[in-house]
Symmetry: D3
Subunit: 131 residues, 6 copies
C-alpha cells in the first residue's frame, strides 16, 4: 500500500479504528480529517500522536482557544499549508473571531520581523532577563 492515499475507516485495522473512534468521541465529530487518515499508514505514530495531542490540547492552565491560536501562530511561522488551514478552522470553532485572527496575525508578523532584527543586530541578552 502506498502512503499516497488516505486510509478509510472501513479499510482500517482494529488499532486504527480504535484511535479514529476516540478522536470522533473526544471532538464530537462525524469523521476524522485527512491528517489522521494519512498517519494511519503508521499505526504506532497515529496512536502516539493522537494521545499526545489529546493530552496537550485539553484545557488546563491555558484554555482551548488560546492553545489553538498558539498552534496556528507556529504553523503560520513554519509555512505549513495544511496546518494553517486545519488550525484556522479549529481556532474558529473554539471561538476565534475575525478581530482576534487579525490581531493574532499582526503579532505573528511582528515577531517574525523583530526576531530577525535581533539576529542581525546581534543584540546581547540583557542581564535583567536572566534574574
Amino acid at each position: 500500500m502506498s502512503p499516497r492515499q488516505p486510509i478509510e475507516y472501513r479499510d482500517a485495522p482494529p488499532e486504527v479504528r480504535a484511535v479514529f473512534d476516540d478522536i470522533k468521541r473526544t471532538r464530537q465529530i462525524k469523521d476524522v480529517n485527512n491528517f489522521w487518515r494519512y498517519l494511519a499508514h503508521d499505526p504506532p505514530t497515529l496512536k502516539r500522536t493522537w494521545d499526545s495531542i489529546k493530552e496537550v490540547m485539553a484545557p488546563g492552565a491555558l484554555d482551548s482557544l488560546t492553545k489553538e491560536m498558539i498552534y496556528l501562530a507556529v504553523s503560520v511561522t513554519n509555512g505549513c499549508g495544511y496546518c494553517i488551514a486545519s488550525h484556522n478552522a479549529a481556532a474558529r470553532k473554539a471561538g476565534m473571531s475575525d478581530a482576534m485572527f487579525g490581531e493574532l496575525m499582526a503579532v505573528v508578523g511582528m515577531a517574525n520581523e523583530t526576531n530577525r532584527l535581533a539576529n542581525g543586530y546581534r543584540v546581547p541578552i540583557d542581564l535583567a532577563f536572566e534574574k
Copy 2:
C-alpha cells in the same frame, strides 16, 4: 560608529531620545532594553518598529498576556535566543505562570512536530476547511 555597541540615552540624538522616552512612559520602566539600544543605530527603523509594536501589542480583541505568549511561541519556533529571553520576561510580567509556560511549550512542541508530519505525508487540505 560601529553597530556593535548599544546607543546610550546620553549619547542619543533627539529623535532617538523621543522614542526611548515613549517606550519608558508606555511600559512604565526606568530604562529601555538592549533591543532598542541597538536599533537606535538606525533611527527610522527604531521609530517605525516601536510605533508598530506599540500598536500591535496594545490590548484589543486579544489581551496582553495572550499576545506575549504568541510572541514567545514564534520566537521559540524560530530559535531566536534574544527574543526567547525578552518575551519570556515580558510574558511573565503580563501574568504567565509556570503552569501556563509549561502548557505553552507543550503546544509549541507538538505544533512543530505535526507541521512536519503533515509535510512529510503530503496531506491534502480537507474540503471542509475551505468552506
Copy 3:
C-alpha cells in the same frame, strides 16, 4: 526566455545537454526531472549543482539509502514540496520501505518537537558533550 518554463533537451545548448547526458547515464534514467530542466536556465549553476550532488550522493561511508533518507528529513523540515516529492521517490527507489518511511517521519517529527523544547527551556549544553 522566461525562467518560468523548463528547458527541454532538444532546445538546450551543448553545455546543458552534456549535464543532462551525465545525469541520465549516472542514474540510468531516460529523462531528467523538472529540477534540472529549470536549473538549465543558468548553465553554470546546473553544472555546479549536479557535480556537487553526484559527489555528495555517491555511496561512501554512508550508503545511498541512508543519504536519501537524510535528504528527505531535511526537505520535510524545511517544508519544500518539490523536494519532499522527489526525494521520497528517490528514497523508495533506493530501498526505503513503508515501515522505514514511517519511522523516518516519526524521528523527524520528534526532532522538530524537542528542538523547540530545548530552545524554549533555554537548556545549557552539558559539559559532557564538549569533551
Copy 4:
C-alpha cells in the same frame, strides 16, 4: 520555582524520579542530561516526551545509528545548538565515525541548498513522482 535552573534528582518529586530512573536504565547511563532536568519543571511534558522518544528511537525498521543521524540532520537544519551538541554525542556513541559525520553534513548542506533552488525556480512536481 523559576524554570531557569535544572531540577536535580534529590529535589525531584516521585513522578520525575520515575522518569529519570527509566532514562538511566534504558540508556545505561549514570545521570540524565540537562534536557530532561529542565523538562522536569513540567512533569507531564517530561513523561510524555520521554515515552515518545523511547518508542521512536528504539531500533525497528531503522537502526539506532540511522535514527540518530536523522535527528542530527534535523537539528542542524533548525540551528538548535543544544540539540546539535547532544545528538552529535548520541550519534557518535551509536557508531558514527568522522567519515560518516562528514558525509552526513555534506548531504544536509546540499539538501538545504537545493531546497531553496527548487523554491526559487518554482519547480512543478513531476507527474512521475505522483504515481
Copy 5:
C-alpha cells in the same frame, strides 16, 4: 465576512480605499494585488504594513532593485510561495535580468548550505569578526 475572499475596492470602507489609492498612486499601477486585498480584512494591519513597506522599500542608501532582490532572497529561504511569485515580478520590473536572477539564486543556495555547515561543525566566531 470570512477572511477567505479578497476585499474589492467597490466593497471597501473608506480607510481601506485610502490605502488602496495610495498604493496605486505610489506604484503607478491600475489595481492592487491580492496581498493587499486580503490584508484589507484588518484595516489597521493593512495601513501599518503599507506605511512600513512604502518607507522601507523607497530608494535610499540601497536602490529599489537591490531591495527587491533581498526581499526575494528572504522569501525563497522561507519558502513562501506567494512572496516568491510577487517579489520575483517586482524585482523583474525593477530591472532584474535573467542573469541577475541566476546569480541571486546561486548565492541564496550557497548561503543556505554553508549556514548549515557552520551550525553542524559548531564553528566558533573568529575574534577578527568582533573588532
Copy 6:
C-alpha cells in the same frame, strides 16, 4: 581526531593546504577563518565548498557587495550566528556602510513579516504574476 578543534595549516595534509593557499591568494588575506579550518576535517567538502563559493561569489551580473548583502540577508533569516558575524564583516569589507546595513536589515525584517502575513491569510497568487 575529534571535529571539535580547527585544523591549523601546519598540521594540514597537502590537499587541505592547497585549498587554504587558494583562499588566501583569492581573498588576499593572511589566514583563513574558522569556517574553513573546521571544514578541513573533511577535505572533499572543504574543496567542493570553496570551489563553489569562489565561483558563486565572483562578481558577474551582480557585484560583490550585492552578493555579500544577499548572503547576510539569508544568514539573518536563518539565525546562523557564525554566518551573520562573518558575512557582516565581508559585506563591510566590500563597501557596506552603516546606512546600507540599516536599510538591509529593515528589508529583511519586513520580508520576514509579510512572508507570514501571506501564509496566514492564505493569499492566492495573482494571475498577473504568472504571465
